[in-house]
């Protein structure tokens, strides 16, 4: 199974943030960058699935030149190659624009002979939290979409009933059926899906691996296909960013060590959460 994983370069925020001069973005100068956590799991899931099905993993990002770091990080843990759609400031794109850009790349790659049976995204990115790119991409490609998925495997009795009709680039559509497991309100939900499909992954089903030395070496030499980003189509509806009020600490220190335990039990009794 050939898998495309869409990832996003995001600032790695541990403490509070500072806004940039325009007031529409955060000041990233003092921050490191990473890929969103759902996407780390999507990359891991892709690597495991590709290994089990003798397939390949390609990672794609729409981002600044520096986002090649995130692509290479994914190659270092096992992805085969990368696609960088170079957009100096991805924040000018709305989720619908990003989905369109990725859809166009998928069609273009298909024309160039590189087709994907499965496209993975994260449920939502750590910065914008939009929760739409995967779903909008699925509609753009005419594929079914799942979100909140944690693991996937080839479905039992794979009948190869996968979608008929032409692939986006005019080649043969991939076939096959997969089982996907995700978290629902009443338990683990199991889906069976014909390929090609778009699946948005939620963290927690697999543990992202660390890169090996050979992985790092491979990442340096990996092929990264580059595209220029088109003009943002619908554009971002953002007016500005704001920061929450910093609340002054009003903590009551009940004490130090085990001696403070009775004071805490008093508090718990007062709140009324002690089991009778």
């Amino acid at each position: 199974m050939n898998i495309l994983v869409c990832i996003k370069r995001v600032p790695d925020i541990a403490g509070s943030v500072v806004l940039d001069d325009t007031g529409t973005g955060i000041d990233e100068s003092g921050l490191g960058h990473t890929m969103s956590s759902h996407e780390e799991c999507a990359v891991e899931l892709a690597i495991q699935t590709a290994a089990a099905t003798a397939g390949t993993v390609t990672v794609l990002t729409v981002g600044p030149t520096e986002a090649v770091e995130q692509l290479r990080a994914a190659v270092a843990v096992g992805a085969n190659d990368g696609i960088l759609v170079e957009a100096a400031d991805p924040s000018v794109f709305a989720p619908e624009d990003i989905a369109q850009v990725i859809g166009d790349v998928v069609r273009d790659r298909a024309e160039a002979g590189q087709t994907f049976d499965l496209v993975l995204t994260g449920d939502d990115a750590a910065d914008t939290g939009d929760f739409q790119v995967g779903i909008r991409l699925a509609y753009d490609l005419g594929y079914p979409a799942l979100t909140n998925i944690q693991t996937i495997s080839a479905a039992d009795g794979d009948s190869g009933t996968g979608g008929s009709g032409p692939a986006p680039g005019g080649g043969e559509r991939s076939s096959g059926r997969i089982e996907a497991r995700g978290i629902g309100p009443a338990g683990t939900e199991i889906f069976a899906l014909d390929l090609p499909a778009v699946i948005a992954v939620h963290e927690g089903g697999v543990d992202p691996r660390y890169p090996s030395i050979t992985g790092r070496m491979k990442a340096k030499k990996a092929t990264i296909v580059e595209y220029d980003a088109p003009e943002p189509g619908t554009g971002n509806p953002r007016i500005r960013l704001e920061l929450p009020e910093v609340k002054a600490s009003s903590v009551t220190i009940l004490g130090e060590g085990p001696e403070a335990a009775p004071a805490l039990v008093d508090v718990l009794e007062e709140i009324g959460v002690m089991r009778p």
Binding site: D127, Q132, R136, P185, G187, E203, G204, A261
Partner: protein, 331 residues
């Protein structure tokens, strides 16, 4: 007109987050006035309509009435018995007015359905909204570290409401009118239908989101075997265990117990954070806690600074002593 997609739990009751979303619709969104494009009686001003898919219990109707919902669109069909985002979203689209606001709570279901609806109606969607005024909408970004102010164009605004953006509040009760519909479900929309559900795993998560007392455990617990005192406290309080991402990442506890931006968002009466530093992504999950208690060896940690009450010290010793004190008082 404002329409709220209402989630019900397996017992058929309106979920807490949907009650929040309805309250949000009632109190914070400008009322677009009655919708005249449909043959549904216009509800009183300021009163949102609700959409319920699947069984509609009498108690849910009564609860929606207490929340000020005067019209309930009830969508029930054998093909919708199992969840399928595409089919459910189309059912919502079929009864959604062409203008106004359509919203859901920012749960995985709410997010997924609104995203499908937004595509199918050709609209933008704003996720994790926490406020609205004449300037536009306010929503959480960067896991709640910052807010984005934005303006949606288009006739229909599609939103999800961040968990705990407001407290659910009942109002002067009304008797909702219930409209049932004949539906056509397209075969293609059933491709993403749930085949089966395995109960266990998410039971933990639902216990976590509904517990009145949650004891949180972080890296400070030290190892996979370091949870005994914490679990005993959970038991004394009849509560639930919630953990930080470091704990799930190390494989000490399952992801279903994770609290935070990429885990559950909880609103217990008390959250007792043991050995958790208070990273922004963790705090995003506990904003709804009414009382926050920190047990941490580091007085300077964010968790201690943000807490209402704190004990400084080794969590194993402190929690052990708390358990002993509880047992002593019960005797």
């Amino acid at each position: 007109m404002t329409v709220v997609y209402v989630e019900t739990d397996p017992a058929g009751e309106v979920t807490l987050t949907s009650a929040e979303a309805i309250t949000f619709a009632r109190q914070l969104l400008p009322d677009g006035g009655p919708d005249t494009s449909r043959e549904v009686a216009a509800p009183p001003s300021g009163s949102p309509e609700g959409v319920v898919i699947g069984q509609l219990s009498d108690s849910a109707v009564a609860e929606l009435g207490r929340l000020g919902v005067s019209v309930i669109h009830h969508l029930e069909h054998p093909d919708l018995a199992e969840y399928s985002a595409a089919a459910w979203a189309q059912a919502i689209v079929d009864i959604t007015p062409e203008s106004g606001t359509l919203l859901a709570s920012g749960t995985p279901r709410g997010m997924e359905l609104m995203a499908h609806v937004a595509v199918r109606t050709g609209q933008r969607m704003a996720a994790n909204v926490i406020g609205a005024d004449e300037e536009g909408l306010l929503r959480q970004v960067h896991g709640g570290t910052a807010f984005e102010r934005l303006r949606l164009d288009g006739e229909l605004h599609v939103l999800t409401i961040a968990g705990h953006a407001c407290n659910p509040e009942e109002t002067t009760p009304v008797t909702p009118e219930v409209y049932d519909y004949e539906l056509d479900v397209a075969e293609a929309d059933l491709a993403t239908r749930v085949q089966r559900t395995e109960a266990e795993a998410a039971d933990d998560a639902s216990g976590l989101t509904s517990a009145r007392a949650v004891v949180g455990a972080g890296r400070g617990v030290g190892s996979e075997n370091g949870f005994s005192e914490v679990l005993e406290l959970v038991d004394h309080l009849g509560g639930a265990l919630g953990v930080s991402r470091v704990v799930t990442g190390l494989g000490w506890r399952p992801h279903a117990e994770q609290v935070g931006q990429t885990g559950s968002r909880i609103s217990p009466d008390v959250y007792i954070a043991c050995g958790i530093s208070g990273a922004i992504q963790h705090m995003a999950g506990i904003e709804g806690a009414k009382t926050l208690v920190a047990i941490n060896s580091d007085e300077e940690s964010t968790m201690v600074q943000r807490a209402d009450y704190a004990i400084i010290g080794d969590l194993h010793e402190v929690v052990g002593a708390v358990n002993e004190e509880i047992v002593r008082r019960k005797q």
